[in-house]
């Protein structure tokens, strides 16, 4: 169930636009922030708020990289696997991350902290090899910077 204040906030935003549908991704992001990922229930709630059918919302939700339809960890690591990062050793960094977190790409650590998702070029090729953690960019990466980052995040938690 959505908390009233979030629901109200979304309703207000929706009421302010001519075409509620254009907010579908925003609403999904908001629900994702609330639930941790876009649950089946969230899809239905989004549909209700936007005047769409749940199917229409899911058709959109399942399309996008940054809309998670399955549970993810607290920190989603989007590690770039596109050409420049690959060129700069991104593959071994990804393997390093995998090994360090003991998860395969696509998986979440047992403590629910980290999810590792390889993605396409994140637009920071000048900082290759690069990755995003919860949409914040890090790069150029080395095993050392990765160690440090993960430790910081673990500690912050």
């Amino acid at each position: 169930m959505l908390p009233e204040n979030l629901k109200k906030e979304l309703q207000d935003r929706i009421a302010a636009v001519d075409h509620p549908r254009e907010l579908v991704v925003d609403v999904l992001f908001a629900l994702q922030a609330h639930y941790g990922f876009v649950t089946d229930e969230a899809v239905e709630e989004a549909a209700g708020l936007l005047g769409m059918t749940p199917m229409e919302v899911d058709e959109v939700a399942t399309f996008y990289t940054f809309v998670y339809r399955r549970p993810v960890g607290k920190y989603v690591i989007h590690v770039c696997d596109s050409v420049i990062c690959w060129l700069e050793g991104g593959r071994s960094l990804q393997e390093y991350l995998s090994q360090k977190l003991s998860i395969a790409p696509g998986e979440t650590t047992a403590d629910g902290l980290f999810t590792l998702l390889p993605v396409c070029c994140i637009g920071y090729c000048d900082r290759a090899p690069a990755m995003l953690i919860n949409k914040k960019v890090y790069g150029p990466l080395t095993p050392e910077t990765i160690d440090q980052l993960l430790d910081e995040l673990r500690e912050a938690h």
Partner: protein, 421 residues
């Protein structure tokens, strides 16, 4: 240092403020057109300046604006394409971070040129930072009467909103982007109708790349001839933001005259090739352009010259590969990208790309058979018959690999291993 136009206010460590932008002449163009220009005049100066779309397709911006008929229905929309998801491309991000108001003024000018009152910046989720900057600066501009109701007392209203994408490369394609904004699945939609006739919510919509829009205030303020004069070559116009990455010493974004030589970009601006590297090839304009072999190392980087060379300037995102880079590996990586990001609408792209990727993987990993080369050639050719420009974009590196680096491919097959280890 060559003339800095779009990067005039760029600082290494912070974004330019509204005051800085205004101090450098920012919003003068807007004030001028609001005071004394007609829509047609704005369209005309952009057409005369030969401002070609910087998003990859190189369509003349002035011409596009003028296809919105004078009696077209309202509301009309301007969409700023800040999706920038093509591997190797990051110039739009740098532009936004450098001087956000330049973009806002550009959008507003485009809006004036077609009598639109709403601008939408479509931005990829990876650029959340840039999205927030834009939202903040939009609010500031509104406060100073540079956006919103009754801009500079002219009676012209124009609002800009930031629309966050859910993240897919296909959303950069015009019609897919419009579908995305409308909350539909972002499959492209072949014209007719053209977006300038029936775009968002069936209303006239003009969509331009960030860099294209950023050029507009300068052209309006300084004139078409000035803009054309910025270019190094006869065939080019203006400056270009080149984003350079890969095996160079100093990857980054540089504003250089259109038509600057590739060699000059690499050597003078990107600090030369990386330690111990020799230039082998580059993708001159993003992942959907072809490999440009070393024989073109001195090519003038403008739309026309690259076309002459059988290639494209694309977005001007130069990805440099050295003599130790396996181009089969590069192409395999690119195909992985394209296969993953296909929208899934048409067969060549959805089915063809994964097959091509697998064939390249076989070759790269030493299981390639001689007949695969022919199969790949055929399939590359057939990609051109896809529904939208996505799959032909993927064909570009593939076909150029097979055309210019056939030996390298052959070597993989014969050695049953990647010669680069």
């Amino acid at each position: 240092m060559t003339a800095q136009v779009l990067f005039k206010n760029r600082h290494p460590d912070r974004i330019a403020t509204l005051a800085e932008y205004r101090h450098s002449g920012g919003y003068e163009a807007l004030a001028k057109v609001l005071a004394d220009s007609s829509r047609q005049q704005v369209q005309q100066v952009l057409t005369d300046a030969v401002l070609l779309g910087r998003g990859g397709a190189a369509f003349p911006a002035g011409v596009k604006l003028s296809t919105v008929a004078a009696d077209a229905p309202y509301p009309r929309y301007v969409v700023c394409n800040a999706d920038e998801m093509e591997p190797g491309t990051f110039k739009d991000r740098v532009l936004i971070h450098a001087d956000p108001h330049q973009l806002l003024e550009g959008i507003c000018l485009a809006g004036f040129a077609v009598d639109a009152h709403e601008g939408i910046i479509f931005i990829r989720p990876e650029y959340e930072g840039a999205a927030r900057i834009l939202e903040r600066e939009i609010a500031l501009a509104e406060k100073e009467g540079l956006l919103g109701q009754n801009i500079l007392g002219s009676g012209f209203d124009f609002d800009i909103i930031v629309h966050r994408s859910g993240g897919r490369y296909i959303c950069g394609e015009v019609t897919a982007q419009l579908n995305a904004i409308m909350g539909r699945r972002p499959n492209p939609q072949q014209p007719p109708p053209y977006p300038t006739e029936k775009g968002l919510w069936d209303r006239p919509t003009v969509l331009q790349n960030v860099e294209t829009l950023c050029c507009m205030p300068h052209i309006v303020r300084n004139g078409a001839d000035w803009f054309k004069g910025l270019a190094r070559t006869e065939s080019g116009a203006g400056t270009k933001i080149f984003g350079i990455s890969g095996r160079v010493r100093r990857p980054g974004c540089f504003e250089l005259p259109m038509g600057v030589r590739l060699s000059e970009i690499i050597e003078n601006h990107a600090g030369g090739m990386a330690e111990g590297s020799r230039f082998k090839a580059c993708l001159p304009g993003g992942a959907s352009t072809g490999f440009l072999p070393a024989e073109h190392y001195d090519i003038p980087m403008d739309f026309e010259s690259l076309k002459q060379a059988g290639n494209r300037l694309g977005t001007g995102a130069i990805m440099v590969f050295d003599h130790r880079t396996c181009l089969v590996g590069v192409t395999l990586n690119l195909m992985e990208f394209f296969a993953r990001e296909s929208c899934g609408w048409c067969t060549p792209c959805r089915e063809g790309l994964p097959v091509i990727r697998e064939l390249l993987r076989e070759i790269e990993e030493g299981r390639g058979k001689p007949e695969y080369v022919g199969v790949l050639k055929e399939m590359g050719r057939h990609l051109w018959n896809a529904y939208c420009a996505f799959a032909p974009g993927a064909a570009a590196p593939l076909e150029s690999l097979l055309a210019h680096f056939a030996d390298e491919v052959q070597e993989h097959i014969e050695r049953k291993a990647c010669p680069f280890g």
